[in-house]
Amino acid sequence: MNRADIERTVFAAVDDLNATLPEEKRLPRNGEARLIGAEGRLDSIGLVDLILSVEQKLQDEAGVAVTIADEKAFSQSQSPFLTLGTLTDYVTKLVGKDGHG
């Protein structure tokens, strides 16, 4: 899977999440969308939901099993959960490392 494939998966997870949110809380479908932090759009359960949804879609649609949120993710100097773009980059790296690329 390349970055574009991963981005499609992340955006599909965003679509699922948005379907459960009121309009003012929905995430824009672009890499700049802030997930956490001062301008973040998600609360903690929203972030959990998004991460689990991405993991599930990777497993179901591509047979790729990755754990996105582990100690490594939380020890990065820049959080991979800052924006949809950083999340996509991080998952692309994980999938590549696990030999699914």
């Binding site: 359960i45 689990l52 599930q56």
Partner: protein, 233 residues
């Protein structure tokens, strides 16, 4: 007629787990059970999986199958557990490790995977098994009670973490019941525990089933983070 609930119960080969499996099968629910060894419970609504509750790959595969076969999970009862009655000074580390792994980490693993599946099906119920040994500080059960105290802590914290997903998490603490788990405990020790209960009789399987029924009842959707001890302990 309402769709049958999908209920996963660990440790269904015997004792409390088996009684729960028979009860819910009898009520028309679909029961998925598991244990390390095969079970001889045969019912149209029952399916059995052989696994160790701390084998992460096997547990994930079990949940993958439940999702593929049933599409959802309505309730999880973490019943599988091991005990070893012994003085702390005589308890080998391997025994202590096995008790903590099965009772605490096994429960954690099933809660995590169960909640992931329930999240996709509009919520659910988790019931963990604890023991009156926690509150009674029973001598000879230091590690067993410590592992269950941790299960109680897990229960109350998960109740908060999972509340936004409409998942309730509660625990039931039975008094001694005459099952395999207590078969190696000297009779006088069991009698001494019963003597400390408000209602002084041995527990019965139906007592536990009744509490689990309450936690699983649709009307109990405002009940979470509770640890309910039987017998007035």
């Amino acid at each position: 007629m309402a769709e049958p609930r999908v209920i996963l119960i660990t440790g269904t080969r015997k004792g409390i787990g088996r009684a729960l499996a028979e009860h819910y099968c009898g009520r028309g629910d679909l029961v998925v059970g598991c244990s390390r060894k095969p079970a001889d419970l045969e019912h149209a609504g029952y399916e059995h999986h052989e696994l160790d509750v701390i084998d992460e790959d096997a547990v994930k595969e079990l949940f993958r199958r439940i999702r593929a076969n049933h599409g959802r999970l309505d309730a999880l009862v973490n019943n599988a557990g091991v005990a070893s009655m012994n003085h702390a000074l005589l308890t080998p580390l391997d025994t202590a490790r096995r008790i903590v792994e099965t009772n605490l980490l096994g429960t954690f693993l099933f809660c995590r995977e169960g909640a992931r599946l329930m999240r996709g099906s509009g919520g659910g119920r988790i019931v963990n098994l604890t023991t009156v040994a926690v509150r009674l500080h029973l001598e000879g059960e230091a590690i067993y009670a410590a592992s269950k105290a941790a299960v109680e802590s897990l229960t109350t914290t998960l109740a908060r973490e999972l509340a936004p997903l409409d998942i309730t998490v509660n625990a039931v603490g039975p008094t001694p019941i005459e099952t395999d788990l207590t078969s190696n405990v000297p009779r006088e020790k069991l009698d001494a525990i019963v003597a400390r209960q408000a209602i002084q009789r041995f527990g019965e399987l139906r007592d536990v089933v009744n509490v689990v029924d309450f936690f699983l009842d649709p009307a109990s959707d405002f009940v979470t983070g509770q640890v309910l001890y039987l017998g007035g302990v």
